[in-house]
């Protein structure tokens, strides 16, 4: 039975992970911004037979509050084994191009707040010489593309940070898991047309996340075929890539 803190618990993927963890008896500390939705999730997990579920309402853009959230989580669960950082925002690329402010706001949410949480978890898990830090990135972070490079860069920022963290924490038996989902059919992507085989359901991605956490995997693409797609995309020479409209 693990003690798991989930940041951004209201996201469709995180909620699906929470349900899977509850089903096997893990205890949870849920952090999210929208109090109403968080309460609804807590009720849902309760009906599904959850044991210990504690929660805190917080805006994770407030970096100064992060340490206190970890204190609260450890106090509520009696320690921590797993941290899942799942919050994020899919900014409108066109709006970001028109506004530096919007671009930086996306970095505040997707990059700075995510590495702040990962850095705090790293120090605590390094001291206890155990733990898993899992962060939801994106396949968009593998290469900058004109259609969503602000979102992609913010996710890529985190991926490189986690790579370094993994290198540092391996010696302390702490696993650092970078999760790169492809297209997932969630409220965040409701505005997109969903045709074709590339779209996955949140629960399928959640199953992959739970498995990756259990294995202490390094980098997982979800579903797995994205590893191949991104391998190809990463290896297109730049002189060709810059002419493509991706």
């Amino acid at each position: 039975m693990s003690k798991v803190a989930i940041f951004g618990a209201n996201s469709a993927i995180a909620a699906a992970v929470a349900r899977r963890l509850v089903a096997r008896g893990d205890s949870l500390f849920l952090v999210a911004r929208n109090a109403g939705k968080l309460e609804a999730l807590k009720q849902d997990l309760g009906v599904r037979g959850a044991g210990a579920v504690a929660n805190a309402v917080a805006d994770l853009n407030d970096l100064a509050g992060h340490e206190a959230l970890f204190d609260e989580a450890e106090a509520a669960l009696g320690g921590l084994d797993v941290v899942l950082v799942a919050h994020g925002d899919l900014p409108d690329q066109k709006a970001c191009e028109a506004s530096v402010e919007a671009t930086l706001a996306a970095f505040q949410t997707n990059a700075l707040s995510a590495i702040s949480l990962a850095a705090i978890a790293a120090n605590r898990f390094e001291a206890q010489r155990s733990g898993v830090i899992a962060v939801i990135g994106s396949v968009a972070g593998d290469r900058g593309r004109q259609s969503n490079y602000v979102y992609g860069a913010s996710k890529g920022f985190v991926a490189i940070f986690l790579e370094g963290l993994r290198n540092r924490l391996g010696k302390a038996d702490v696993a650092v898991v970078t999760i790169k989902p492809g297209f997932v059919d969630t409220p965040m992507t409701a505005a997109f047309e969903k045709k074709g085989l590339l779209w996955a359901k949140p629960d399928a991605v959640a199953a992959g996340i739970v498995k990756a956490i259990d294995r202490g995997a390094a980098v997982v693409y979800l579903p797995g075929f994205w590893r191949l797609i991104m391998l190809v995309i990463r290896h297109i020479p730049e002189f060709l890539f810059k002419r493509l409209s991706l």
């Binding site: 609804a40 009720q43 009906v47 409220p187 505005a191 047309e193």
Partner: protein
């Protein structure tokens, strides 16, 4: 512009302006400008255009997928309206509870089940889905939230049960579940070699069994078939092992795989498939949801899609009417891959637009062959109208306003409860007066 949203049978192919995801039951509806309309869209398992709002907006409700409360002692379940029956079953069946009424697929949302007042194989004893809804919350475009039950806001309750989503968005619902001892069914299959034989067999089966449904071979001149009876199994010792193996239709065939030849072969094989004599145990999933085991089975009809034609004929006209319909189908050479016949019980439906009413209901699937299919439907419509029957809105893509008005006598009363910012392709087609 959205071209990726359709109903289960892929007809009609339409364009929507926008789709919004509802994921927070306490949040307001998206603001729509004057003249714009929206409609709740659950899991898209209804047919035709009842769940579509061409050129308008849709509110996706699958994000409203949270359980709220479940009382294991009484079987009272409260959940958000985007929860699917499959999710309810996964939760409650191991605890000894079951939906009091379930349609032929479990991949429908609670909101969709209420809005279409769906029925199941136990209609003759349990009525339809609406009979087991204790209450629900309705969110209207003016921001108001109405708790509706048979006692509270009773008119809005009656308008929304079977109300095709036109009265607002159902956000949460309280359902009364039924007790079971285990997830297995006692089932018995009986062959019949003519429609006459069916009616006698069916009358007897309805007295003995809570669940009955018949599959009919339309390619046989006198309508042979199988009557499938079921009851939840009583408590007992060792139960069979069960695990669900799912298949999927992986791609869209360029043309329908359903043609006169495959139809005849399938129906022959199904009729003659070895069925165990007497009563046997079967898990609820293959009994209630045989097609759920084949993901995206709607693809077998190809890109042009298919039509489902489901009608109900009043008791006095049922025998002659069903025979006449089968003869018309046989004469057209069309044949239906899946023909399902079931008799409804006498329990009056609660909704102003509810489909279930005493009589026999016949459901048929036809590949979309354009004109030829439409002219067969015109002949079937004439038989249904003459018999004083009705078509099922949840399966309909083509009913005329006249037929709707004649078979849903409370339609005018219902229209007073329609939310001014809600509409659907179906509603604009059958309701003479343009909403807004």
């Amino acid at each position: 512009m959205r071209r990726d949203i359709g109903s289960w049978n892929r007809v009609p192919a339409v364009v929507h302006a926008r789709a919004w995801a509802l994921a927070d039951r306490s949040a307001a509806l998206p603001e729509l400008a004057d003249g714009e309309t929206g409609l709740a869209y659950g899991n898209g398992r209804s047919y035709g255009d009842v769940c579509l709002n061409p050129d308008g907006d849709l509110f996706f409700t699958r994000g409203l997928d949270k359980f709220i409360a479940f009382d294991r002692a009484t079987g009272a379940l409260e959940c958000e309206a985007g929860v699917m029956l499959s999710e309810i079953l996964d939760l409650v069946a191991p605890m000894g509870w079951f939906p009091a009424v379930t349609p032929g697929t479990r991949f429908v949302t609670v909101g969709g089940a209420i809005a279409n007042d769906v029925h199941g194989k136990n209609h003759h004893v349990a009525g339809s889905f609406g009979h087991h809804v204790a209450s629900f919350e309705l969110l209207r475009s003016d921001g108001s939230r109405l708790v509706c039950s048979p006692e509270e806001n009773a008119n809005m309750f009656a308008a929304t049960i079977g109300g095709l989503g036109l009265t607002g968005v159902i956000t949460t619902a309280r359902l009364q579940l039924a007790r079971i001892a285990n997830p297995f069914m006692v089932v018995e299959a009986r062959r019949f070699r003519s429609l006459d034989e069916f009616w006698d067999l069916n009358a007897r089966a309805e007295r003995e069994w809570p669940y009955t449904v018949s599959w009919i071979d339309c390619t046989a001149p006198r309508g042979r078939g199988l009557l499938l009876c079921g009851a939840h199994a009583p408590a007992q010792g060792p139960l069979p092992a069960f695990s669900e193996r799912g298949l999927a239709v992986p791609l869209d065939p360029p043309i329908s795989l359903i043609n006169p030849l495959s139809l005849k072969a399938f129906n022959f094989a199904y009729f003659h498939k070895p069925t165990p004599r007497g009563k046997t145990l079967q898990h609820y999933a293959p009994y209630f949801y045989p097609l759920d085991a084949i993901r995206e089975w709607n693809r077998i009809y190809g890109r042009k899609g298919f039509y489902q034609y489901q009608c109900v004929l009043p008791p006095a006209a049922a025998r002659a009417g069903v025979a006449e319909m089968l003869a018309a189908i046989s004469a057209s050479g069309a044949g239906s891959f899946l023909a399902v016949l079931k008799t409804f019980g006498a329990r009056p439906s609660l909704g102003m637009l509810s489909f279930p009413r005493p009589g026999a209901t016949l459901a048929l699937d036809f590949p979309n062959h354009g004109e030829a299919t439409e002219s067969l439907f015109a002949r079937l419509d004439a038989i249904v109208s003459k018999a004083g029957g009705a078509l099922y809105p949840a399966k309909d893509a083509r009913m005329s306003p006249e037929m709707f008005a004649a078979s849903f006598p409370r339609a005018e009363e219902f229209s007073r409860y329609v939310d001014p910012k809600f509409s659907s392709g179906f509603w604009r087609r059958v309701h003479a007066e343009e909403p807004i």
